[in-house]
Subunit: 420 residues, 2 copies
């Protein structure tokens, strides 16, 4: 599996064709190297490193969560299976290069013929790899009649049921394909999505896309826990990259789970959760803490002293009242309440301008990876949608599910196990 | 003037009430310091430093451009002049604190009574000052009959004229007040705007807001030139913080320019410029470079070798054709073509999801500071809107103008020269 920071990224100065270019087989044209370029000053910055693209699983799932997100959902407009496979091949080559801090193609933004459109859009020239990961997923609609994939659809790739209080905007739901770009520099994440969209001209169109600026989940013990826009630490009890057994049990599709092509993959559920932050901000601190089940400052669960002290749902206070309320978020979302169910969360905060009614359009773009959403995300969300005290302050406005295939071997391509 | 990195920010560990709290007069409640909290590991990171809030001019204008933007335009809903002044006072106290890396108020997110709403929304707990600057401006509509300010409106604070090819969305235009938050961490910028909105409940509502993720302008010679979403370096010839004479001539309102209350201020023009990046990306490199007037790789103007070589608009190539085309962007926007006019640009790239038509909704949120927009931004934009070859690839979808008052002295408040 991929891990950030384990590898020195390929950093070179502008116009200097060194080992990196040779390694990648990149051409040099017009005196400019075709891979990207980095100020020498950043060489001590581990956040700038490259995350390996290849592996048994896709990067960007248990990779320590980068700071920024650009998530895109595409509609496939071609009806040719061959065109779709060609696109996935071409995307994979570009993704390999961009994850290494290179331009999308060998010629790049300025190395091709002047009489042709550039093969890279150029806005990431000079920026390091920034721990970019690109993770692809296939939506249920890809398995319709167009591409001969109907009998390859995994039973776990369900159409998500309607949940209580859903307020979904169809323009923010679904899609044939998704790409999750995570990086420590938003310009690098945006550049990657845009160049995949450019490569896909004529075969795919952007259905919806979402930027996220602050990760809300901790996917490695090397990371401190960030805060969501309710101001609370988020992700304290998330599954971590170091929890190999839990990943096997809850995240990675295992042999025999369904079609073989998904073994080593995972199911991604995305939910755009609008937070009514103005209402929340007028709620008293004690009520906020009761809703969450944790203390706002330290992040400790009620009845505990420290953020990482194990949660005890059975502690009672005065009068026998449970310290963690029956409708507290952490109680309802706990493995204990859900018969052992856990998910790997990987969400980001967002602010999408204003809502036209005097408020910020802000919230959490929730991303979760599941081994099987039928027994993980779905029962968890059913419990939360029906009982969670937090529901008064949030609305689910977007929803999608995708099957993320296993990782790519050198020479392979995204989804090759599905199409072969 | 404010400069980032000239001052060590006040960084303290969680729960440790040290010199920082005493310095700021911050209270300590429930064992928690009321100012924010930073991991000790970040102490060598200059991007985390605090920018001084007070000065003769507002910070955030010639401050070296931070990486991230949250810009908000407010409508004032109270009709009481006293309430408006009280709000500006309260905002100023909060802005002083947040710029120093503290919570919005003394009590902060968790230091107040549990039975009251928190006085800070909490999502920036643990984050350093991140060079946050907050810059306020007053729109033309603030000078209507509501607040007795009609005779204080500066003649330079015009209603912007319609420009050729404008495609303005009224929901992204105008507003009584603006706040520009710039920081090196988007969560810090968003936190600041959100807490000002929280403080303003009942007196202001959010009219529109815009996030920007990549600065496109260089406002100090200490910075390298970033790239916009056309993939070109942007801001090479911008006025720089070091150009004191040019700032006096083109940016800061001088005594005698108009009403005294604006002396030391500047006029901010904001334009949301949608870029049709999909069309641009299908344009050949030579045409892109002809439209801009510069080489995409190096950023050198045509006829020059290096990015910072002075532009020569009179160089001709074969057949006497000018190397920089008559309708090239840098020719039309040049001081030479505009009779000496210059502006200070401070824009950011944006991607606001998708446009519902299969494309990313991406572009440049243009911000410019002028001593007098009547003789600077307006003639420049008239020339560009009518002749710039780039107009084929862009659309101006939002527009606003604000009078940014001079800087605040300790004990003063935003706009005190206007209201006194």
């Amino acid at each position: 599996m991929s891990e950030a920071g384990t590898r020195v990224s390929r950093r070179r100065l502008f116009g200097l064709a060194g080992a990196g270019a040779a390694l990648a087989g990149a051409g040099v044209a017009g005196g400019m190297a075709a891979d990207r370029v980095v100020p020498a000053a950043s060489t001590t910055d581990t956040a700038a490193n490259a995350v390996p693209f290849h592996g048994a699983n896709q990067a960007g799932i248990v990779t320590p969560a980068q700071d920024r997100l650009h998530f895109v959902s595409f509609d496939v407009t071609t009806t040719s299976r061959n065109d779709l496979v060609d696109l996935l091949r071409e995307w994979t080559r570009a993704a390999e290069r961009m994850a290494a801090g290179q331009e999308a193609t060998e010629h790049g933004a300025v190395g091709g013929p002047a009489e042709a459109p550039p093969e890279d859009t150029g806005e990431a020239l000079g920026l390091p790899a920034s721990s970019l990961t690109l993770t692809v997923g296939f939506g249920p609609s890809l398995f319709d009649q167009r591409f001969g994939l109907a009998d390859r659809r995994p039973p776990a790739l369900i159409d998500l049921p309607a949940f209580a209080k859903d307020a979904l905007d169809p323009a923010r739901c679904g899609g044939d394909l998704c790409v999750q770009a995570c990086a420590n520099d938003p310009q690098v994440a945006v550049h990657a999505i845009r160049n995949l969209a450019r490569i896909g001209f004529g075969a795919v169109t952007v259905r919806w896309s979402q930027l996220g600026f602050g990760r809300t989940s901790t996917t490695s013990r090397s990371q401190s826990t960030p805060r969501n826009l309710f101001g609370f630490k988020d992700g304290t009890n998330n599954i971590k990259a170091e929890d190999t057994d839990a990943l096997r049990q809850h995240v990675w599709v295992q042999p025999g789970d369904g079609p073989d092509w998904m073994t080593g993959g995972s199911y991604l559920v995305a939910r755009r959760i609008r937070m009514h932050i103005e209402t929340w901000d007028r709620t008293r601190l004690s009520e906020q803490e009761e809703i969450i089940g944790r203390q706002k400052g330290s992040g400790a669960a009620h009845g505990q002293a420290g953020e990482f002290d194990p949660v005890d749902l059975h502690v009672h206070g005065e009068g026998g009242k449970p310290l963690i309320a029956d409708d507290a978020h952490i109680r309802l979302a706990s493995a204990e309440s859900l018969g052992g169910v856990r998910i790997l969360r990987r969400g980001y905060n967002f602010v999408d301008g204003s809502d036209g009614l005097g408020h910020l359009d802000a919230g959490l773009f929730f991303i979760a990876f599941n081994r099987d959403p039928r027994s993980q995300f779905v029962p968890m969300q059913q419990a939360l949608a029906e009982k969670d005290a937090m529901m008064e302050y949030i609305q689910h406005t977007g929803s999608a599910i995708y099957a993320c295939p296993p990782g790519v071997r050198p020479g392979g391509f995204w989804g090759d196990t599905l199409f072969h």
